[in-house]
Symmetry: C2
Subunit: 122 residues, 2 copies
């Protein structure tokens, strides 16, 4: 049912945690299942994402997509990070079952919310 | 949003894993969110549940309820295990938000499926 990459990122999620005094924090909820996700970004003076962490109460698909999404935005600038769509994340994971696609939206939305939070503060 | 007990069992889940040559195995899916859960039971000759493990792709609420449910059925006989309803599990966890109640059904259903698997084999 799940690709090897999904299982790998589910069982060994990258970038789980929090960042104190983060440059931007985004919290989003999933209307369909009631799950929540929070992304922390550490952005340097050149607008490069130096570090990123996430926390979620979501399912394995939410964990795997967040893990992959955080890997994809790390080291990128803001414009590049905005281009990391949930479609790109799913492709990097070799796909997700259709019933779990809504879970992958959490990561994209939380990253956008965190970038928005950063933009408002600067 | 979540009780302290839910967060404790989510962050430190008890009885995660598999049992080789289990007496009974139950796998169930959740139609509402597409998540899956598997419970393994090790039942001795006196019908006592000596060990129980679970694996799930489900969310934090599914993890917390499974963790608590496995604690509640361990050491019990089959009749007692059948009486560990999702309502009893939710009470032991000091409640769950209504939107997550469907997640708690996974543990109850998987335990029943594993007991059924055991009964069919014996
Ligand atoms: S949302 Fe699927 S188990 Fe909770």
């Amino acid at each position: 049912m799940y690709s090897e990459k999904v299982m790998d990122h589910f069982q060994h999620p990258r970038n789980v945690g929090e960042i104190e005094n983060a440059s931007g924090v985004g919290t989003v909820g999933n209307a369909k299942c009631g799950d929540i996700m929070r992304i922390y970004l550490d952005i340097d003076d050149n607008g490069i994402i130096q570090d990123v962490k996430f926390k979620t109460f979501g399912c394995g698909a939410a964990v795997a997509t967040s893990s992959m999404a955080t890997e994809l935005v790390k080291g990128k600038n803001i414009q590049q990070a905005l281009e990391v769509t949930n479609k790109a994340v799913m492709e990097a994971l070799d796909g997700l079952p259709p019933v779990k696609v809504h879970c992958s939206l959490l990561a994209e939305e939380a990253i956008h919310a965190a970038l928005w939070d950063y933009a408002e503060k600067n």
